[in-house]
């Protein structure tokens, strides 16, 4: 029972550092680089993304025995696109400024590799609760990463955080941080930081990796 509970927690925390979708699995980088010029749009994107990921994971996990292998990809895409369009319509109706800020990257969540990747790697093989936890964990990991990246880029590039002035006006703005090269620079630094942090954590506590969970389950059977 203890290991059962442990594995649930590690599914949830897996997405934050050890298998962070952006920094460790290196998926969904395009949207991550594009929406991180401002913290507000990064938060919005993270929320929309997490919603779609959790819903898609739950539904695909529920249908995992119904969907034939032959058409599994078209089925996943239809389900994911449905959820994305729902989010898009609600955002267009109730959060117009966020909708305009995210622009084309909102509908592009449909083809975000993280969502399709989690459907393919996790949701189609695991039960509903585990898939939902995986979706939440991955969503938190993605949101934390984009918000952290947006923090660096907005503070250094525009001198603001969430629109509030945090650096004095006299501070020279590093405008390259708001452009593509600054995004790549931030991305590299965060990636290195994530690897470093993972090493630190591994040295301190014994952690079960994703593979270990599979092994634990096999042993239990």
């Amino acid at each position: 029972m203890a290991s059962e509970k442990n594995s649930k927690v590690s599914i949830l925390t897996n997405g934050i550092i050890k298998e962070n979708p952006v920094l460790r699995l290196v998926l969904g980088t395009c949207s991550c680089l594009a929406v991180t010029t401002a913290v507000s749009s990064a938060l919005g994107m993270g929320a929309a993304f997490t919603f779609v990921l959790v819903c898609a994971n739950i539904l695909i996990s529920l249908l995992r025995n119904v969907i034939p292998a032959k058409v599994h990809l078209p089925c996943y895409i239809v389900i994911i696109a449905g959820f994305v369009t729902i989010v898009q319509m609600f955002m267009h109706a109730y959060m117009v400024s966020l909708y305009n800020a995210l622009g084309v990257f909102l509908p592009l969540i449909v083809v975000n590799c993280i969502i399709l990747g989690r459907a393919e790697m996790f949701a189609c093989k695991n039960n509903v609760v585990d898939s939902a936890l995986d979706g939440i964990g991955m969503g938190i990991g993605y949101t934390l990463t984009v918000v952290l990246m947006a923090t660096f880029r907005e503070v250094l590039g525009s001198g603001t955080w969430l629109g509030f002035q945090v650096l004095p006006e006299s501070f020279a703005k590093i405008s390259i941080m708001t452009q593509a090269p600054g995004a790549f620079f931030c991305y590299g630094v965060l990636m290195a930081g994530c690897v470093w942090l993972e090493g630190k954590l591994d040295a301190r506590i014994e952690r079960k990796s994703c593979c270990d969970i599979d092994n634990l389950k096999k042993e239990a059977e």
Partner: protein, 181 residues
């Protein structure tokens, strides 16, 4: 029908069709919920833009809708109590995206303001035609004469297609003003 045909051919078709149908239904429901809100938001944004281009108007409720114009591509016109007008027109720019222009005219036909929505154009290129410092050149111009790009006013350098759409929409507004005035 034997079991293998069902498993290999019919079942995938049925499952995919059912999933698509359910998702479409769900989208139809959500759309019927959000479409009126979106339309209302757009109406409010248009009204705010009308007020924006008419310095003599401060309250959108005092505006009176004008109809009966025949100019193509004009999608709306309002008249203020003092006789000044605002006209909305759209022209397709880059890759078919519609660029929307709202222009304000005072009672003498002078342009009092211009509002441009170029969010459908390429970000950072075509969208530049909506920049305030570029649009400032049109303020105060004679709103009764059609204008020619690069002769009366400059196009935005590097955004020719979006600029062409902008000038066409401005001319639509001017033609409509001449028709209504």
């Amino acid at each position: 029908m034997n079991k293998t045909t069902w498993e290999s051919t019919v079942k995938p078709v049925v499952v995919l069709s059912v999933i698509s149908l359910v998702v479409s239904l769900l989208l139809a429901v959500v759309n019927s919920m959000t479409a009126p809100v979106i339309a209302e938001n757009e109406r409010a944004a248009t009204l705010a833009a009308y007020v924006d281009v008419m310095p003599s108007v401060s309250d959108a409720n005092t505006l009176e809708e004008v109809s009966g114009y025949t100019t193509a591509n004009v999608s709306g016109a309002v008249k203020a109590e003092d006789g000044s007008m605002a006209i909305k027109a759209g022209e397709s720019g880059f890759d078919g995206g519609v660029l929307t222009v709202i222009m304000g005219f005072d009672t003498e036909g002078k342009v009092t303001g211009i509002w441009v929505d170029a969010s459908t154009q390429t970000s950072g290129i075509g969208s530049n035609v909506a920049k305030a410092d570029y649009l400032a050149q049109f303020n105060g111009m004679d709103g009764t004469q059609n204008i020619v790009m690069n002769q009366d006013f400059d196009a935005y350098s590097g955004a020719t297609i979006s600029s062409t759409a902008l000038f066409a929409a401005i001319n639509d507004c001017i033609s409509c003003y001449n028709e209504l005035a």
